[in-house]
Amino acid sequence: MTAPIIRIDSIRKSFGTHTVLDNLSFDVMPGEKLALIGPSGSGKTTILRILMTLETINGGHIEVCGEQLYHMQRKGREVPADEAHLHHMRRHIGMVFQHFNLFPHKSVLENITLAPVLTKGEARPMAEKRARDLLDMVGLADKAGHMPAQLSGGQKQRVAIARALALQPRIMLFDEVTSALDPELVEEVLLVMKRLAAETDMTMLLVTHEMGFAHEFADRVLFFDKGHIIEQGPPDHIFSNPTHERTQTFLRKIIAAGHRV
């Protein structure tokens, strides 16, 4: 029996007086492809941001790759993680954002090589070689010298995926990566992610409104509402015959809004 790669244990998160996550727990197994779905404001994106340490938690514990994410041991006591510990933990995790967040002043190639060279001390020629391989993988081998502003949204997002992969994380987080794209550009990004899911044993967490893609991509789907997991299971179960009434309502609304399931 393998141990989970992520253990989320009764975490709480609030922004001011507004509680987003309340006593939430779930595990993710190594290599698992997880889709987080649910209405806006249900806390799905917050979970990814917490895992990337872009937000902190107000209570509970998270374990990533066998180590506490937000806590560490000092003199036999558990204390809040310091910046050095967070830095140490972040190398396990990569993230792709809704709005790409490419570095606009750096070329496509530099966007991908910057972090490996700076944070892992990789030699530039080696980092560049891998960056070119990754660009090839996302179908942008000819764009290495371009600036982000010269790319379409779909191309930018594929570069962002390559940038995250260049650090060879064990866990990848995808936060509504197609939501900011024009409809005709969605497919090229999803195609890259499908290949990635098929060809690697990385653990992937996906927050999405693309139900069709979630169905195809995920091993397990978690349906969130108001910070709680209402229902979870294999995609066939969640999408074809959800047991919970709120899941049914949500899926009905999504279909009515023109999303494919």
Partner: protein, 219 residues
Amino acid sequence: MEWDWAFVWQIMPTLLEGLKLTLLITLLASAVAMVLGLGFAILRRSSVAVVARGTGWFVEFIRGTPLLVQLYVIFYVLPDIGIRLPPLVAGVIGMGLHYATYTAEVYRGGIENVPRGQWEAAKATNLTARQAWLHVILPQAVPPMIPALANYLIAMFKETPLLSAITVLELMNQAKSVANSSYRYIEPMTMVGVFFLAISLVSVVILKWLEHRFGKVAK
């Protein structure tokens, strides 16, 4: 009183000495202002509340008091507690510090204009705070603020005569001393004005070019 060209040529070497010092002070003091201002801007964003607030107060205090008073304090009061600075050093520190409180505002604006997503991407690619500043934030924040920074450089240049109050032999002080010893003010003071005007005009042209070059950056 008549304009005397012979006198102009006679005092020219002295005035040029002063001008050289004026330019040197402007350069050194603006270097101090650029670096210190960035330091203030970064400290004001510190997550340690005491540091952020303390820096804020200090900046407000310096900006809220006249440069001339600060120069007097640095040059005439500090020696009472054992800190004795040569006039030039005192002047450069005084002007640099004073203008750093203005450049800090420029930096702050420029830094705040970098979208939050850039910080998040830097963090997600596991850059340290220092690496994020150096490789992601500042390269995007600085170019748009170059025109505003250059503007302060010109302002500093025009404020250098204040340093004559602490015995720095810059252009104004040189002119005053030749005027005092020859009892002729028209030529020295006119020449000071001409020098300042000529250099300011050139600077404005350069500034216009900088605005054109860096004012707008592609998103």
